[in-house]
Amino acid sequence: MSIDAPPRQVEEGLAAAARVVDGHKVYGSGDTEVRALDGVTVDFGEGRFTAIMGASGSGKSTLMHCAAGLDNLTAGSAFIGETELGGLSERNLTLLRRDQIGFVFQAFNLLPTLTAIENINLPLTLAGRSADPEWLNEVVTSIGIGDRLDHRPNELSGGQQQRVAIARALISRPSIVFADEPTGNLDSATGGEVLDFLRDAVDKLGQTLVLVTHDAAAAARADRVLFLGDGRIVDELDRPDADAIFDRIRELGG
């Protein structure tokens, strides 16, 4: 893809909750140089559910890490709202993550020493705030673990743990939530419930969501799917179904 090709992955007419402009990420140097991101420009529109797909080593995780302020770009810039991440001090970056970004990881999302409800509230208590009771109630009700809120993570099932993690990501009403393979450790039925729950968060709560996955079924729930290969965005599908995604993967892989 040439540099002056139209930036297809920028969605017109939608305010971007986060964006990356001409992002480059290079690890190592000389012979061992790896270009994990090689000129990526992307917008994540507000209130939309974007999935990022790609094979291992395609750069999808790197893109998410850089967009979410967990990692720095070698060149280019990343924004959350109108804030450029590259210009932030370590502390401000941390505060930005705390207040404006939600995270759901594949595993180890919860602190074993805290109860479910304490885990959910953690981003707020770290900021020295308490949750808006109505919002808390809404989030907590939606994850449907009811009487297990006072249990510690090791007393919850894997699916319940991930739903608690998602609730935790939502509690501070972040501008964007990044989910990195959140169903990777779950069986498909439980995984499906978790994905439904994420979809609901977008539809009912208007949450912006970015999902990194290599599971076509998961990506099929997204509004838009970006395909990464060799550190570039190689394709994009709008509201695809699983078959369309499979086809595209096969094309790209072949």
Partner: protein
């Protein structure tokens, strides 16, 4: 397997570095105590040999059991007798008098002051130049010469020489006139020369202040007219030492027989004065024997130092052992999956566990080597400290004995390998399947068994303590029962501590949570999530704080005892004490006379002056040495409240005895004597005298158990100086005026301290505080290791919780919050250890105070404020311990942390 072991260590450098450091410190403290005591011993051995020089034989009086301080002098006539014996090449009479103190002159508004002595004697000696026998060697100026008689002219300025170190330290210069305080009083001397002691090229005075005078002046000034302490003899080359010795002994015996005959012709009052000398035997000993004696004397002294150093080293090693053990448990816990993988690949349980022990061995060896190096450096440092505090000089290199190396290796490697035994046994039980599971732990002994064992051991310990406190035991069983009791209690509590770690951590965490929000809350949770680890980590601190707290309770009780004794036991208004170092004290005669005279000069101000004497081991009862105090028995009641339970202090001797004795109830009960009973007392020189018991008292804090009159002291213990003086004001006298009167006499003697009861109490308290702070500093070294233990555990926890920490950072915990979380976890662990330590320390302290004799401790007192302060310090240690791991945690790379396995 060995290769793998080495690779393991190399790969986990930091973790092992921390483990190693604990062993290194333990070994360092241990080896330092050996290095240093060896050095001190060598120095004194060398000194004993140096001073003895070419001396072959020594003539002196014999002495029974008791202290060499009380040895009787010999008459000067013996010098010519000995010199005339065939085979004798040279004789050198010697006097060594304590409490000869040069005075630093007043300068520009500063008052004159005595040359201070912290731990070394201040001697007056004869300067002689007998080849091979002399021990003062001129390095500047000339020898002191006889100027005239000090008796005939007290204003006379005689001559003296001084040791090089004292002269240098206090800037005494040849050609100047200085004042010296000696046993007879204050005299002025012209400094004519500077000398080295013991060696022509090097001052071997080890901190002693030495003044040398010509023979006659020395005898006059040092109150030794017509007498010497001993005569050193060199024999002619080729002469047989034993033959000469026998010849001298024969001459001495003949001389003594002749003396006894001569004495019988003298008036009775003269004979009576010489009674203690009549039975004194003269002996000729070889220099080897003298060296051996000084070694033995010195060994007693150094064995105290060495025991103290060793005790601290053992504490350090024990503390390190806790840390090593804990570290191994944690590190192996973190490696369970890796070890299980080895099992999958076909390693037997035995091989795995052997490789762990091998790791212990390698680490122990490296740490021992480093510890020895560290110990040597520490010994060099401590030597500097000792020298700068005036303890003395320890020149030359510090000896490295094979014994030191062997003990260090055995302890260093031994404790490390022993620490791996428990964990390595648990490792053996890891099943290969564990490598495939996610959440596996080593399973240590069940809590229930631990509870039972801990409870049992603690109960036995407390029972032993209780026995020690209540039952009347001999010293040895008493010490064993207290020691074992403390040990049992400690280990019992250690075994139980994981059980209480959780609730206590909860309790401690509560205020922290309230004050420090989520990081505080997480800190509390982290401290209680692994109670076993928290307990093991805190244990090191517990040991240190238990000891410090115990010392605090004991010293506080001693202080309370002294305060009470001074409040209840004193009638006198003012005390005069000496600041110089001498077990017997020592005030010049002229000072005592001046103070005694005050009652006659100003009866309106001073009612009476009492002079006290003291002789360590100065008398024997059935050949058993006793410390004895002397005072004017007619006066003592108006100066001291001895708590007379029977008889009168001033009771005249009865039953044909010439002297009266005051006796504490304890020895009185032991001997089965009462008022009017006769008691036979042995004195130096072999004389035995019968005393009648005049009174029995029950307060021994001020005067000790045995009190006789000063007249008896003069007669039987002629070498004992005036130890201290007290004055009772006349009724209605103005204290300030009376005190000024006393100062007018004492002002010339800078070494004399004038104090009233309150000031005396403050001084005693100050000394105890000083002692306590020295002990605390030493124990603080073990606390230092304990801090390291906390650091270690936290650092390992950072590894273990890497993913968790990464998650926290990802979802918005700031670095500062993370540091705060680590810090408060450390504080909770430290406070937990501190609480246990202080609680046990108080218990041990109470046991010790109950067991110690009344003379030391009669009142029990717990210094609550001080203990609270210790707890705060423990918390502070937590803060310090957390610095490094907190920084590490805060700097974790978030991405790597999240994906860490």
């Amino acid at each position: 397997m060995f290769h793998l072991t080495l690779r393991n260590i190399a790969r986990r450098k930091l973790r092992y570095a921390l483990t190693t450091l604990a062993v290194v410190l333990g070994v360092a403290f241990l080896s330092t105590s050996f290095f240093l005591t060896d050095k001190i011993r060598d120095t004194f051995d060398e000194l004993a040999t140096d001073i003895t020089g070419d001396i072959d034989l020594v003539v002196r009086t014999t002495i029974g059991r008791g202290e060499g301080f009380n040895r009787l002098p010999i008459p000067e006539e013996l010098e010519s007798i000995v010199a005339g014996v065939p085979g004798v090449a040279g004789v050198d009479p010697r006097i060594m008098m304590w409490n000869v103190i040069p005075i630093i002159p007043a300068e520009w508004g500063e008052k004159a002051r005595a040359v201070p002595s912290r731990a070394a004697p201040q001697f007056g000696m004869i300067y002689s130049e007998v080849p091979g026998l002399r021990n003062l060697f001129l390095i500047e100026g000339r020898a002191p010469e006889r100027v005239g008689s000090l008796h005939e002219d007290p204003e006379l300025v005689a001559e003296f020489v001084m040791d090089a170190r004292t002269a240098k330290d206090h800037r005494f210069g040849v050609g100047e006139t200085y004042r010296i305080s000696g046993p007879t009083g204050l005299r002025d001397f012209l400094l004519v020369g500077i000398v080295n002691f013991g060696d022509p090229d090097e001052d071997k005075g080890i901190g002693a202040n030495i003044s040398g005078f010509d023979r006659l002046t020395a005898q006059e000034f040092l109150d030794m007219e017509g007498r010497f302490d001993q005569i050193d003899i060199a024999i002619e080359p080729g002469a047989d030492r034993e033959v000469v010795r026998t010849a001298i002994q024969t001459e001495l015996d003949a001389a003594k027989a002749a003396f006894l005959v001569e004495l019988s012709t003298m008036p009775d009052e003269f004979q009576i004065l010489l009674i203690p000398y009549l039975e004194a035997e003269l002996e000729v000993i070889t220099s080897d024997q003298q060296i051996e004696e000084s070694r033995t004397d010195f060994d007693q002294f150094i064995s105290i130092i060495s025991a103290v150093l060793l005790a601290f080293a053992i504490i350090a090693v024990v503390v390190s052992t806790f840390i090593i053990n804990n570290t191994f448990s944690i590190v192996l816990g973190q490696r369970v999956r890796e070890l299980a993988l080895l099992r999958v690949l076909g390693a037997t349980g035995r091989q795995v566990s052997r490789s762990i022990r091998l790791e212990g061995f390698v680490i122990g060896s490296v740490a021992t080597a480093l510890g020895l190096v560290g110990g040597y450096l520490l010994a060099l440092l401590l030597r500097l400290v000792l020298v700068s505090t005036g303890f003395g000089e320890l020149p030359g290199s510090i000896p490295i004995r094979p014994r030191t190396l062997i003990v260090a290796a055995v302890v260093g490697i031994g404790t490390t390998v022993a620490s791996t035994i428990g964990p390595s046994r648990r490792v053996r039980s890891i099943s290969p399947v564990a490598s495939l599971r996610d959440d596996v732990r080593l399973t240590p002994t069940g809590m229930r068994r631990r509870l039972q064992a801990g409870g049992l051991v603690a109960l036995i310990g407390i029972a032993l303590l209780a026995i020690g406190m209540t039952v009347d035991l001999d010293t040895r069983p008493l010490l064993s029962s207290l020691g074992l009791g403390a040990l049992g209690t400690f280990f019992g509590v250690y075994l139980l501590s994981p059980v209480i770690a959780r609730p206590v951590a909860d309790l401690l965490g509560r205020p922290i949570r309230r004050l420090f929000g989520t990081p505080g809350r997480l800190a509390g949770e982290n401290a209680r999530r692994s109670p076993r680890r928290t307990a093991a980590t805190a244990a090191a601190l517990t040991v240190g704080l238990a000891l410090v707290s115990m010392a605090a309770v004991v010293s506080d009780s001693m202080k309370a005892t002294i305060v009470q004794a001074l409040e209840d036991g004193i009638e006198a208004d003012l005390f005069v004490l000496t600041a110089s170092f001498n077990p017997a004290g020592g005030l010049p005669d002229e000072l005592s006379e001046g103070l005694v005279g005050l009652a006659d000069e100003r009866p309106d101000l001073v009612a009476s002056t009492a002079i006290y004497r003291f002789a360590l081991g100065g008398m024997t009862i059935d050949a058993d040495p006793k410390d004895v105090g002397g005072v004017d028995l007619d006066l003592v009641d108006s100066h001291m409240k001895l708590g007379i339970v029977d008889g009168e202090s001033a009771n005249p001797p009865t039953g044909g005895a010439a002297f009266s004795l005051l006796l504490h109830v304890d020895p009185a009960t032991d001997l089965g004597v009462g008022v009017g009973s006769l008691v036979d007392i042995g004195f130096p020189g072999g004389h035995e005298e019968t005393f009648s018991v005049g009174a029995i008292f029950d307060d021994s804090t001020m005067m000790g158990n045995w009190v006789i009159g000063n007249d008896a002291f003069d007669r039987f213990l002629p070498r004992a100086p005036d130890n201290s003086i007290s004055l009772a004001y006349a009724a209605g006298a103005d204290p300030d005026t009376a005190r000024n009167l006393v100062h007018a006499v004492t002002d010339d003697y800078p070494q004399a301290n004038v104090m009233n009861g309150n000031e005396l109490r403050e001084q005693m308290e100050g000394r105890l505080d000083q002692l306590l702070s020295i002990i605390t500093v030493f124990l603080g070294l073990s606390l230092f290791i304990a801090v390291l233990g906390i650091t270690n555990t936290l650092a390992l926890s950072v590894y273990e919780r890497t993913r968790e920490l990464g998650l926290l950072r990802a979802i918005g915990m700031t670095r500062r919050q993370m540091r705060r979380m680590m810090r408060w976890e450390a504080v909770i662990i430290a406070l937990f250890g501190g609480l246990l330590g202080v609680a046990m320390g108080v218990l041990f302290g109470l046991a010790a105070t109950a067991a110690l004799p009344e003379t030391f401790i009669d009142v029990t007192s717990v210094p609550v404020l001080k203990l609270a302060l210790y707890l705060c310090v423990a918390g502070l240690f937590g803060v310090v311990a957390a610095i490094f791991p907190a920084r590490r945690a805060a700097r974790l790379d978030i991405l790597k942390a999240i994906s860490y396995e």
